[in-house]
Symmetry: C2
Subunit: 480 residues, 2 copies
């Protein structure tokens, strides 16, 4: 049936069949990590297809990091390939299983966890929390005995609608909001609903590491969009949308993680126009909009969207209550319809208790007053970190909000050594490569100033700088 296939009667192009064929053999462990694949010529003969077809498949495999090229000598199976190969003694032959690179770093026990972009629990009004919890039990004595609806507590969705409309001019009804267990679940549900094998997804470079993992697990072909202090190169974005017809662009335009950049309002407006023009959904992740040090950031992209091309993810976990895991997704009915079905099979609704506590805590006057204090406290911690690093000659962008510094170390820094030596010193940080869809940016790191107190930060940074001095030749210690 060669004719039919190559002429596209079957729903896949020939090179895509070859792509899947190679992936399948890697997944089955027939071709192991760092093993050399058949040459383009060999495989072309074996499958009775044209060499260019195999070449095209290999290129896509390389782009999606399932194979790598070694000094022109051929293609090899990527050992870090996210295809998990079942061992012989393992009763399981797994479907695609992907690891979360970031969560592996978070599992490291360390005294100085600069890798954690979360609020220091001591900055939260913990003593007041329990009052609100008691209030919740007085108001809803049966809250623990009651399931939430799949979409989430109506009272909470109504309050969020009112809040979003008042602050960001969203035109929204409660039926256009879904409550999720944190933004991680939101990203996962969106990927499951929208992404099929080989769909193209645009990702910022760098970006939020677990998002890379989620979209890759869905089989997406990811294409990077560089993010700069001034935003994106919109002509490039348009070219990519035109050429690759991406299903979606996952972006984090406000106090971007890891860089701290803020995409200006003008670009936001234009992005929404491009999304509509090229039918590319914009998945806007907005976890720390409230953490600004100077003026309020520009309105979310969602505020400019009239045609339903923006899906807005708003998490509150990072700075309000990580222990509650509450986030919300705003999108139009066509998309919500799908998300609800996925959510009902994923966990049939987030726990009602958490939603009720959040409702009474977040919208309380005390919380809103507390946010102001929080901004000051974090701004001071940022300045402290910058002061401690001032002598190093390293480069970073000084963010006006958020939780992180994105730091460029000397080009000669051996990152793996730095990470292991730091962990020995009970220090963790996020290597830039795991925030990079193409896993480069090997001289960059993300250091969070949100989780450690002043003293821990001073001590941890002194140690860290010492570690780098020991492994980086002194004369090169200035940034290249």
């Amino acid at each position: 049936m060669k004719k039919e296939i190559s002429s596209g009667t079957l729903s896949e192009k020939l090179f895509e069949q070859v792509y899947d064929y190679v992936l399948e053999r890697i997944r089955r462990g027939e071709w192991k990590a760092d093993e050399k694949l058949p040459s383009v010529r060999q495989l072309a003969v074996e499958l009775n297809v044209h060499r260019l077809t195999v070449f095209k498949a290999y290129q896509l495999l390389k782009q999606n990091q399932h194979v790598y090229v070694k000094d022109k000598s051929g293609y090899y199976v990527q050992s870090s390939s996210m295809l998990q190969v079942a061992r012989q003694d393992d009763p399981i032959v797994s479907a695609y299983v992907h690891k979360s690179h970031l969560s592996e770093i978070h599992q490291v026990q360390a005294a100085y966890q600069f890798s954690i972009a979360l609020l220091d629990p001591n900055l939260l009004p913990n003593l007041y929390f329990s009052e609100y919890v008691k209030k919740v039990f007085d108001l809803y004595p049966k809250v623990l005995g009651t399931y939430s609806t799949t979409q989430g507590d109506l009272e909470l969705r109504e309050a969020l609608c009112h809040y979003f409309t008042k602050h960001y001019r969203f035109f929204l009804s409660p039926s256009e909001l879904l409550i999720t267990s944190g933004s991680q679940e939101a990203i996962d549900l969106i990927a499951r609903v929208l992404i099929k094998n080989r769909d193209v997804v645009l990702l910022e470079r760098p970006t939020y590491s677990p998002a890379i993992d989620v979209f890759r697990r869905q089989g997406a072909t990811t294409i990077s969009v560089e993010i700069h202090p001034y935003g994106y190169d919109l002509e490039e974005v348009e070219r990519l949308m035109q050429q690759h017809k991406p299903r979606l662009f996952y972006l984090n335009p406000t106090f971007h993680n890891p860089t701290g950049y803020v995409v200006p309002a003008k670009q936001r407006k234009r992005l929404v126009e491009l999304a509509e023009k090229y039918h590319c959904l914009l998945v806007e992740d907005d976890p720390c909009r409230d953490i600004y040090f100077e003026e309020e950031p520009p309105l979310p992209l969602f505020s400019y969207d009239t045609a339903g091309y923006v899906i807005y993810i708003r998490s509150f976990s990072k700075y309000i209550a990580p222990g509650l895991s509450i986030a919300t997704v705003a999108c139009r009915p066509a998309c919500m319809n799908y998300l609800l079905k996925a959510k009902s099979l994923a966990d049939s609704g987030s726990p009602l208790l958490n939603q009720k506590i959040f409702l009474h805590y977040f919208f309380s006057e005390r919380m809103q007053q507390h946010l102001a204090k929080l901004r000051t406290a974090l701004a001071m911690r940022k300045e402290l970190m910058e002061a401690e690093l001032s002598g190093t000659g390293w480069e970073w962008y000084s963010p006006t909000g958020g939780f992180n510094l994105w730091i460029k170390l000397p080009v000669s820094t051996p990152m793996d050594t730095l990470l292991s030596k730091s962990i020995e010193q009970s220090i963790t940080f996020v290597p830039g490569s795991i925030c990079d869809p193409v896993r480069e940016l090997t001289t960059w790191i993300r250091m969070s100033y949100s989780f450690l107190n002043d003293q821990q930060m001073r001590e941890g940074l002194k140690r860290f700088i010492q570690v780098t001095k020991e492994i980086v030749p002194h004369d090169k210690c200035g940034s290249a």
Copy 2:
């Protein structure tokens, strides 16, 4: 490349490619609901394959309910096919999206919800709950400010290990337990980790409806195993394992949902032997083991497992705290390794607050005393329901635990009419067909006696019996 494909060089058999081809065209909306598919002969010509190949593909499509056969005249696209077709005005072209049949019924607002297999919140010691919650905040003042690990709170996992070992002779370490947000998330994670397109999954018939939806969404080919008051036909189970090499068997052997049957200890032991022999994992869902009316049920299958072929899902939501959504999965490291990765991308860990509250509530003396009261209360509600139905001549098995009656109505009952008329009367129940992997069992229904109080049950059942009398010819009102 026909030779290569049919000789299996490519990773799929030819009929499977045809299967995927047809699915893809349905998904893309080229073939719409209730539209007639090309005849076997036509498609064979179009794809230049043998008619038997197309026939085989159509048979599998029929088995998986993507197509149906109409009076021998041909194959038609199943409108209830779980492939969602994107509309033209819809910016989304979705990946597989499946609906949860059960959650749709739960969305119906009704005064007499016999469809809900949950505990009546009034049977929970709600007034005591808040004390435990306050205790949690005294013990862990920063609980809301703290993320849980992906695997779940260690203190809780240690307590559960101790509990499982003491009560069920599990040999288990905390590293072999995962805390999930309810059993729905557990089933979803297991399906995502273990099931690839066209993998064979054994399901009880009838079974827990959302499990059918989850495994189908993963693309599983499901095969039914009839469950009887005495358990399964184990020779049939062995034959199926031998012939179809299923990846897993999802089962609910203790106070089975919906029938209430209990699989005897002897069969449990044998099932574990078969699982090991045929490398078929047993996914044991055990949500209401504590709700027994006479003696304690036999030990879980997991107790008999030495080779790591049983994955044990234990939910506590149904009868302890639906508002907390806490469940746990016990399995061996090979499998846990995969589940942890999936969980870290799904929601990076269940909320810590819920885990801590559950820990102090479930293991409290008061809760354990309360369980005894609960068993009595539910046994009485069951007897009440049976008394109300005694005059109808309908058939059911009288369960010794759990939440449901599985009732056989007169064969002449028009189920769709019954459901719509009942909803008009503000009554909901679960039609047997949605608990059936092959969507038959059209004269059976599931009625739960756990959610409504005595008076609601009496009134609701009187109304319901009246509705059936009106639509079922009187002389046939006895069960056929």
